[in-house]
């Protein structure tokens, strides 16, 4: 059986390989940064237009009051669960194969949350007064409305973002110390010196570190679950047909883990190739990630099937109507696309042959995420177009280029942040890889010793 990682990699090599990724970037890097900036620029231009003219330019209307902004917001929140899953959940499960890959996953979480936050802002009609939703002392003595799931969203995302940043940062401290110690003087040296908070690697520091990391991890897991459950409750707590579903919270969390894993696969493949991290982001680890993704895909499919079944066999005529509309109405292409990408495509991952086939996995992971994006759209829009009140049914309104432009721009923003991260911070956790190698070598030595002992 292939090993997750070789046990005989020298510490110096690990340092060297990872630090190499922080070297001055090649031309391709700048091209991608430029493209990301351009995409983001498109988004910014759309928002400026919308801000000045009004939400109407997004082709939103009555009853379609929400559109791609909310759908993409949920998508990005969902994507953010990748890091938490890998960093925190797998950490608690002692699945050490997560070690080479959790760093970039955690970064992904942070940047996804930052992107999702943008959508909250662009989606409200009076962006310049978004702070009304924050409980700040004001002369009118008004608190925001704590009954509102949207407000829980605001609180939850804020907490999650700050916790994720802390988690990412704290987890990086030993690595930042390595960077500080090995990189040439310049702005980097200054930055790492500042950020590594004087880490010396003493025993006491390590012990404190372990405790802190574990604590934040334990805190982060329920937080992540609650964040996406709260996002789910934006819909579940409403009585609109197609939304008022009790399984929405676990469904959303499953979907989040799903898209997070798919994104991890995508970035895994890219980083492995670009930074030549084949030693660390090995195929066995990829395989494990793929299998995890497959498992989550099946959970998601199951939860979907449960939701459809309960609607289909239930008495809620309005909800059944909405479901039928999704299947055969104006959104049919998108809905079936979601089913295909979300439930059919992952079946490929069950076959060993494809579990380490890089090109196939790249395409599949992108398709999976497309499916997940479509899923969010299919949750948001069809209910509006076909709600309780037939007079207001509207099958004709589609998002305008302003909405698409901002969705597109969000990917640019995310890419920009991620690209910068990769060049400033080590995208593989050096100390954790060393731990992993050490434990593997210990284990194999034990095995050798045991063998020897046997003789």
């Amino acid at each position: 059986m292939e090993k997750d990682i070789r046990e005989d990699i020298a510490w110096a090599k690990i340092n060297g390989d990872v630090l190499k990724s922080l070297e001055n970037p090649r031309k391709l890097y700048w091209v991608i940064i430029a493209l990301a900036l351009a995409a983001f620029g498109v988004g910014v231009a759309c928002e400026v237009y919308q801000y000045n003219t009004g939400m109407g330019v997004a082709n939103l209307d009555n009853p379609h009051v929400w559109g791609l902004y909310i759908a993409t917001f949920i998508f990005w929140i969902g994507m953010s669960h990748s890091g938490t899953l890998l960093s925190a959940i797998l950490h608690l499960m002692h699945a050490d194969w997560r070690k080479p890959i959790y760093r970039f996953a955690e970064a992904m979480t942070t940047f996804s949350l930052m992107t999702a936050g943008l959508f909250v802002l662009v989606h409200i009609g009076r962006l310049w007064q978004f702070y009304y939703s924050l409980p700040y002392p004001n002369e009118r003595g008004i608190w925001p409305n704590f009954q509102s799931p949207l407000l829980w969203d605001a609180m939850a995302i804020f907490t999650y973002l700050s916790s994720s940043v802390i988690f990412l940062y704290v987890g990086m401290i030993p690595d930042l110390a390595i960077c500080r110690d090995h990189l040439h003087p310049g702005w980097r040296k200054k930055l790492y010196t500042l950020l590594s908070l004087g880490w010396e690697g003493t025993d006491r520091q390590w012990r404190n570190f372990r405790v802190t990391y574990l604590t934040v991890a334990c805190f982060l897991i329920p937080l992540a679950v609650s964040v996406h459950s709260i996002v789910a409750s934006d819909f579940a707590m409403s009585q609109q047909p197609g939304w008022h579903v009790t399984s929405f919270a676990p469904y959303f969390v499953a979907g989040a883990l799903y898209s997070g894993c798919a994104a991890i696969i995508t970035l895994f493949i890219i980083l492995r190739y670009v930074f030549k991290f084949e030693e660390y982001m090995t195929l066995p680890i990829l395989k494990k990630t793929v299998r995890l993704t497959f498992a989550i895909a099946m959970v998601w499919t199951y939860l979907n099937a449960i939701e459809f079944a309960s609607v289909w066999y239930g008495h809620d005529v309005a909800s059944k109507d909405v479901l039928i509309q999704k299947m055969v109405g104006p959104y049919a292409y998108a809905w079936w696309g979601m089913i295909f990408c979300g439930s059919i495509v992952p079946l490929v991952l069950a076959f060993k042959r494809f579990q380490t086939n890089i090109p196939v996995l790249l395409v599949i992971s992108l398709l999976l995420n497309l499916g997940m994006w479509l899923e969010r759209w299919m949750i948001v829009s069809p209910t509006f177009s076909h709600g309780y009140y037939p007079w207001t049914w509207d099958h004709d309104q589609w998002p305008s280029w302003v909405q698409w432009g901002m969705v597109f721009g969000s990917f640019g923003w995310f890419t920009l942040l991620f690209m910068i991260f990769c060049k400033v911070f080590p995208s593989v956790s050096m100390y954790e890889v060393k731990e992993m190698v050490y434990h593997r070598s210990l284990h194999s030595k034990k095995g050798d010793t045991a063998e020897q002992g046997a003789h």
Partner: protein, 284 residues
């Protein structure tokens, strides 16, 4: 900004309605619309535009579903497959039902929509940040969002037409949600006058714009708590109770021979508008 303040507000404005421990006193504004009298003429809708500074959005925006009519007249056909609509059509004036347990009130993140002590669902324009969750949650879809900045949009209120604007009603800018308020500005004025005389508003002293203009008197509006009020008597005669999601009269076998009902009552928003079924002569 204190916790006491939070709890106080909560008790007042976030109290689930309708309840017996906090009955409406002295006002609960309600409406009854007789669908047999409603002729579908749309006078109420136009009067509402005039009274409440509602912008005319124009053909293009109307196509995009961005119209602003707080009061809309719906028209339904019979659905029994006949060649012709032999028994006419069904008109239904629909506006904010001022639900006692309004699905919109709970979900506004900034508390821009609340329930007032006189039984209205209030919309506070300057608190609204435009998240539109209220509209998303409204089963009747009677909330209208300002998708554009109508005061500064060409041809909405060109010079001189601005002089028609009712100074008692805010003109809304972009990003704000609006809906029927039961002409709260008129209610307020009536209350001020009554207060000056040391009493409450009497039946007939205040009319909503739609009620005032309706040529067939299909709309009656008033204080449901006032036994002299026509709307009180109508609700009583029709045996429709505000705080029930299923009326006792409907429990009887074969339903009831009374005409009063509320729309989407089973969703339990407890609307404050009762409709009287349209009657069609069977002998013809």
């Amino acid at each position: 900004m204190s916790v006491t303040n939070l709890l106080d507000d909560w008790a007042k404005f976030r109290h689930p309605h309708p309840v017996d421990d906090k009955p409406h006193d002295p006002y609960k504004w309600a409406m009854a619309i007789d669908l047999d009298a409603c002729s579908g003429c749309n006078a109420c809708s136009v009067a509402c535009y005039a009274e409440n500074n509602i912008p005319v959005v124009g053909k293009d925006k109307f196509l995009h579903g961005q119209s602003m009519h707080w009061m809309r007249i719906e028209r339904y056909w019979d659905e029994d497959g006949r060649d012709f609509p032999d028994q006419g059509v069904q008109f239904l004036p629909m506006m904010c039902q001022q639900c006692e347990a309004a699905p919109c009130e709970t979900v506004c993140p900034v508390a821009a929509t609340n329930h007032t002590s006189d039984g209205l669902n209030s919309q506070i324009y300057n608190r609204c940040i435009g998240s539109r969750y209220c509209s998303a949650n409204c089963p009747f879809k009677v909330r209208y969002f300002n998708w554009y900045d109508y005061p500064t949009t060409d041809d909405v209120w060109p010079a001189e037409m601005t002089q028609q604007l009712n100074p008692d009603v805010s003109v809304r800018g972009k990003g704000v949600m609006e809906k029927c308020t039961f002409c709260v500005q008129r209610l307020h004025e009536a209350k001020v006058v009554a207060k000056g005389e040391g009493r409450i508003v009497r039946e007939g002293e205040v009319q909503t714009a739609c009620q005032q203009v309706c040529p067939t008197n299909a709309i009656s509006f008033g204080n449901l708590m006032d036994p002299d009020a026509k709307v009180h008597q109508q609700w009583q005669a029709q045996q429709v109770e505000l705080d029930k999601d299923k009326q006792a009269k409907d429990e009887n076998e074969g339903g009831s021979e009374l005409r009063g009902y509320r729309i989407l009552e089973e969703l339990r928003p407890y609307p404050s508008v009762m409709y009287l079924e349209r009657v069609r002569e069977s002998a013809i």
